[in-house]
Structure formats: C-alpha cells, structure tokens
C-alpha cells in the first residue's frame, strides 16, 4: 500500500492519504493477535476473539513452519504464525478523525491505529505450507528490493552481453 491516488475511474474519489507514523498514542501492538482466516466473516467490529478462538500448538511441522490448530464455526483450521521480515511492519488503518466523532464518510485519509510484527495464517482442510498464497506474497519483498535498487554503471556493464 503506497497510499497514492492511482487516478481511479471514479471521478469523485478524493485525495487519499495514509499516515503510517506510529507516534499516535492510540496505536497498539497487535503482534500475536492478527489472524487471517480462510473465510469471510460478514461483520466488522470488536468481538471477544480470545475467549472463543483458541489456537493450540501441535507436534506437526511443515517446511519448517510450526503448525497450530484451532476451531471456528465447527471447522478445524490449521495455521502457522509467520514473522514479517526485518524492516517491515503490518499496519491496521482507521479513518482519520474517527475518535473525535468528525468521521467524514467521504474522507480518504487513513492513519495507523495498530501495528503488528507477525500474522497467523489459517487454512481449512489443508496443512499450511510455504506454497500458501500469503507466504508466497512475501516473495514480493525480495522482488521489490531488487526492482528498486539503484543500478550502477558496473551493474549495467556486467549485465551486458557482447
């Protein structure tokens, strides 16, 4: 997420800003509490997750990933907790001004409400593996680094095929 207005097709789309500064007092560390479930829960808001969702470690290990299990709505989920790579953070965003009650539904200004350093990714009916889409998404970090590295004259030279 780079927060740029991508010149969308919607003419009404206002300027979008994302404030990733973590100086805000409301900011909370949610490391160990961020879960990605293999389902869509049609609800947006707080719920007593830790009282009902009880991940347990298992003996299993796949691709070096420690497998955990939990149940949700009668389904057995198998998951694994992965750390975000060094230098990266996860951000939970909220619309700016929601605390002051000046919440403008048309506002496209976001700010950080919480951060996290790991995420637990859950599968239904499949054990976690490094081939899971979310874990593979981490490849982007390496690719992005390579793409954005400054190319020196020497690099160009060595890449040249005469």
């Amino acid at each position: 997420m780079d927060g740029k207005d991508e010149g969308s097709s919607q003419p009404a789309a206002a300027h979008v800003t994302v404030d990733l500064s973590i100086a805000s007092a409301a900011e909370e560390d949610l490391t160990g509490k961020v879960h990605q479930l293999p389902c869509c829960i049609k609800h947006d808001g707080p719920t007593p997750v830790s009282h009902y969702f009880k991940p347990k470690p298992t003996e299993m290990e796949v691709d070096g990933l420690k497998v955990e299990e939990a149940y949700f709505r009668g389904r057995k989920l198998q998951g694994t907790t992965v750390s975000l790579p060094h230098g990266y953070s996860g951000f939970i965003l909220g619309k700016k001004g929601r605390d002051q009650g000046t919440n403008d539904p048309n506002s496209h200004c976001w700010e950080t409400t919480a951060t996290f350093q790991d995420i637990t990714v859950w599968n239904h009916d499949a054990i976690p593996s490094k081939d899971d889409a979310l874990l593979r998404a981490f490849h982007w970090f390496t690719a992005a680094n390579a793409l954005h590295q400054t190319v020196t004259a020497e690099d160009l030279e060595s890449a040249c095929i005469d």
């Binding site: 869509c40 009282h51 709505r73 889409a133 998404a137 490849h139």
Partner: protein, 298 residues
C-alpha cells in the same frame, strides 16, 4: 479419555471370543459420540446373559453406572471405548470432502475391532447394531476382517447381551464425558447445564439459547453440522468459506446443507470468492499466483 489401562491379556482371550459393539450419543447436538465394545470367551456367553445387561437406554442412570462397575470388575470380560470429540464430528461433516455420520460410526467400530485384535484377542464373532444399510455394513466389515463372522442387526442392543453390555460401557462413558466436559471457551457467562444433549431436551435448548454467539456460533462442544444449529443461523453473522465457494463452482449451486448452514446472502459464485480473498486478477502471473491485488481505492 478412553478406556482404562489394558490389563495383561487374560487366558480366555486366546480361545474363540465374541464381541458386541454399540454407540451412545449419536443423536445429541452436543458432546462426544462414544463407541463401546465388550468382549468375552464364547463359552462365557451363557453367564453373560444372566448378568441382566439390557439396552442401556431402558435402564436408569444409577443402574447403568452399577452395571458398568460390575462389568469392569468382571475378569472374564474385556471392554474398550472410542470417544469421538464433537469438534472432530463437526469438522469431518463440514470438510470439503464431507464424511457423514454413518462413515464416522463405521470407522469407529472398525477401530475398536482392530484395537481388540491388536491386543491379541481371538475374535470370531462380532455383533453390532445396524448403521445405514444393514447388509452393506456387514459386507464392509467382513471384507476388512475375513476371519470374523459379523452379525449386524436392528436392535442388536436388546437382542444380544454382549451388545447390551457394550451399550452400557458406551452410554456411561458418554454421560461422564459430558458431565466432566471442560469447555474450551473462556467467556464469563458460560454455564454447564447441558441437559442430555438431545435437541428436544428443554434444558439443552435453553443451553444452546444461552450460548449462541453471533460471530462464533457456539462453543466447540456443539456439533455445528447438526440440523438443530441451522435454526440459529439467523442469529449469526454470515460466514463464507472458500470450500463453500469451490463447491458452488463445481456444482453450479450450493449444496442444500451448506446453504442451510450459512444462509448465504450472495447470489453468484464470482461475488462469493471475491468476497473471501483478493485475486490479483488482471495482473502479471507473479501477482496472480500470490493473490496480490493492487488497491487503488479504499
């Protein structure tokens, strides 16, 4: 949980033995389902019929407990139970490839037979109550265990004392397991007045009513795959599963059970899968394979 530590194999076990298998807690909407077996030497059969085992359902709880204690103390009898966790029942019945309750029951009975054979008991005849089609069940068992004669019969629990005994072991174990159940959930307002667990039991109904939760459904003691839970779905927020979406893609329509369970409010399969996850559609392969979508508006 399960049976107690197996004693050294008694002498009678190397003579031809009979075994009865029966279940308890198949119907209830909550708690484990228990399969129990009881076995003894064929020559002990006559004595067994004098022990007043009757179908566990016709006995009072105290009497059942008493009979269970006496059969445990009887050195001419062996027994074992398989306690199937409600979480396992829900999960198997809600998997992408659903396993129905009859299959789960068959597998449990087969597991008990294997277990007793592995102890070294010479099983020659096994008596069971029918689950699903009687003859198909008998053939399935006979194919697995060609040296055993299987008798699959309706009401086996009242016809054969060895099955009655098994039903007592199963029923007492099920009742105790429910009574001593430790809820996984830690919300403050949970209580343990489960009732019998049968959907018609007013106490069970009250418990379900008290423990429904709009997001989580019920505590994991409840068998989510039971029809009883369906009537509560209006109190729950919709949850869409990838496995349901896949199923819809396969069949063109959601199977009846899934539809009832989630009361899905969305019409097209496309909408559903997009609701569940990002797709990376329209981007280059690298992003598609990683389901990385470019968000330009949010």
């Amino acid at each position: 949980m399960g049976s107690e530590r197996p004693p050294p194999l008694p002498k009678w076990a190397s003579k031809p033995c009979i075994m009865g298998i029966d279940e308890a807690g198949r119907g209830p909407v909550l708690g484990p389902m228990v399969y129990g077996c009881l076995y003894c030497a064929r020559s002990y059969q006559k004595t067994l019929s004098t022990l007043n085992f009757a179908d566990s359902k016709t006995l009072k709880e105290e009497k059942r407990e008493e009979l269970f204690e006496s059969l445990k103390a009887d050195e001419s009898i062996g027994w074992a139970v398989d306690v199937i966790d409600p979480r396992e029942l829900s999960d198997k019945m809600l998997k992408k490839n659903k396993i129905n309750l009859n299959e789960i029951s068959h597998e449990s009975a087969i597991g008990l037979i294997k277990k007793v054979l592995n102890l070294g008991v010479l099983l020659t005849e096994v008596y069971l109550d029918t689950v699903g089609d009687t003859e198909k069940y008998r053939v399935k068992l006979s194919e697995r265990f060609s040296n055993i004669k299987f008798v699959v019969a309706k009401k086996a629990d009242s016809l054969y004392p060895v099955v009655s005994g098994a039903s007592i072991a199963a029923k007492v174990t099920r009742d105790r397991a429910l009574r001593d159940w430790i809820l996984d959930e830690t919300a403050e307002d949970l209580h343990r007045n489960f009732g019998s667990g049968y959907p018609g039991d007013p106490q069970t109904k009250a418990w379900l009513e008290d423990h429904k939760h709009s997001i989580f459904g019920f505590p994991s003691l409840v068998r989510f795959s039971w029809g009883t839970c369906t009537s509560y779905s209006k109190d729950f927020v919709d949850v869409l599963w990838e496995s349901d979406a896949a199923e819809e893609d396969d069949n063109g329509k959601t199977s009846k059970r899934q539809k009832k369970l989630t009361s899905v409010g969305f019409t097209t399969a496309k909408k559903k899968s997009e609701d569940i996850e990002s797709s990376g559609k329209g981007r280059c392969k690298f992003f598609q394979a990683r389901k990385l979508e470019l968000l330009s508006q949010f």
